[in-house]
């Protein structure tokens, strides 16, 4: 028996009309991606998960006002960006009145050297270029979606993305630690 797969937008409209299981499907489709969105942008992994939940909570509560003006994922990431900005504002405020909260580096997933390397490279990009690159590379959004989310013309998105990739390529080329020892040993074994 062939089951029909509904688009994100169809599911969201169904949920807005009271079909609660449709929300569960959306949640399962996007939970990991949304979690990754916050984990790659925040230092505290637990907090990242809370914010991913907060984002879905907004989707849940605002469902009755949902209008299909854009892709659901654009809608979802627009909320996520607002939640993220609010969190950063709170963090700045905390830093102003209390002690700064530890490292600013994103928590990431694997604390291995390879990941640390990427995180450091990304951290050296300008904030604006950084966000455009993340949205493209990890959230896999189109230029038009990124432009809509960040309020930028397409040309600006393209320029920032190009600049970010150029900078990152330079960083990866000039500074990446290459594990030669294993390769050399293999060569020697072959010889």
């Amino acid at each position: 028996m062939k089951s029909e797969v509904r688009t994100d937008e169809q599911l969201m409209l169904a949920f807005a009309n009271g079909e609660v299981p449709a929300f569960d499907q959306l949640f399962r489709r996007y939970w990991d991606r949304l979690r990754g969105f916050f984990v790659r942008r925040l230092a505290d992994r637990g907090r990242a998960e809370e914010l991913a939940q907060d984002t879905f909570l907004v989707v849940f509560r605002a469902a009755s006002r949902y209008e299909q003006r854009a892709l659901f994922r654009t809608y979802l990431y627009a909320i996520a960006l607002r939640v993220l900005r609010a969190e950063r504002r709170r963090a700045r405020l905390r830093a102003l009145f209390f002690l700064p909260a530890g490292t600013k580096e994103p928590a990431g997933a694997c604390p291995d050297e390879e990941t640390l390397w990427i995180r450091e490279g990304l951290g050296r990009l300008g904030r604006k270029d950084h966000e455009v690159l993340l949205l493209r590379e990890y959230e896999q959004l189109s230029y038009a979606e990124i432009g809509a989310l960040l309020g930028l013309p397409l040309n600006t998105v393209r320029s920032r993305l190009f600049r970010a990739r150029e900078a990152l390529r330079e960083i990866l080329v000039s500074e990446k630690p290459v594990q030669l020892s294993t390769e050399v040993a293999t060569e020697e074994e072959r010889a």
């Binding site: 949640f27 939970w31 997933a109 990152l168 390529r169 290459v178």
Partner: protein
């Protein structure tokens, strides 16, 4: 990998070229219109520099893709937690809707108006003892009888009684505030029978509350 990523890309930009480096990036990203994408694809297949650029873009993307966030194992638990929060926030939002500024302002205005009305037309006023005693009807006995037990035991003193007089002048409520228990009982029993002239404020009879003192003194 280090050498591969670094080659050619920068020297390319200074050279007059039919395809801009940004267009190669757009083509790799699938962001070019179909006809332009065909032209760029054709060019890249012939141009070593642009193929190098394309490879570099792929390599940068692969490097970035190595930063993975493992899938959440507890997705069902997260979904359940979200449902709980949604239910709780729903209740809270209902509370918040009641607490909305417009509603709060209306409630305050109503309370203020009722308070002013209550002040304008009081249902109960407070009088000092001489004032309330002045309203005591002549028929009422002002002094309760001295209790025999107290007299035998030489008990004397003052009893203070809080009293509420109804609109018709009868005693509605009273209780002893201080004094010897034997004297207090006698005082309360006596005062309960008192009758007062009704108190009128702005043409309307009101209740009166006051405190009266009854002295029990034995003759020497």
């Amino acid at each position: 990998m280090k050498a591969a990523i670094g080659r050619e890309m920068t020297s390319h930009e200074a050279t007059p070229h039919e395809v801009h480096p940004k267009e190669v990036m757009q083509w790799v990203d699938g962001e070019l219109p179909a006809e332009r994408a065909t032209a760029v694809a054709s060019h890249v297949s012939r141009c070593v520099q642009c193929r190098g650029r394309m490879d570099d873009l792929h390599k940068v993307s692969r490097e970035l893709a190595s930063w993975t966030v493992p899938s959440a194992e507890e997705m069902d638990a997260q979904l359940e937690a979200l449902r709980t929060r949604a239910r709780e926030s729903g209740r809270w939002s209902r509370v918040q809707s009641v607490l909305r500024p417009a509603y709060m302002a209306t409630a305050c205005a109503v309370i203020l108006a009722l308070t002013i009305l209550a002040q304008l037309a009081p249902s109960r006023i407070h009088l000092q003892e001489p004032e309330i005693r002045a309203k005591l009807k002549k028929t009422a006995s002002p002094n309760p009888p001295y209790p025999e037990e107290a007299r035998r035991n030489g008990i004397q003193g003052q009893v203070r009684i809080h009293i509420v007089v109804a609109r018709d002048g009868s005693v509605k409520h009273l209780r002893a505030v201080s004094g010897d228990p034997i004297l207090a009982k006698a005082a309360v029993d006596g005062v309960r029978k008192w009758k007062f002239e009704p108190t009128v404020v702005d043409g309307k009879a009101v209740e009166v509350e006051s405190e009266v003192k009854i002295d029990f003194t034995l003759s020497p």
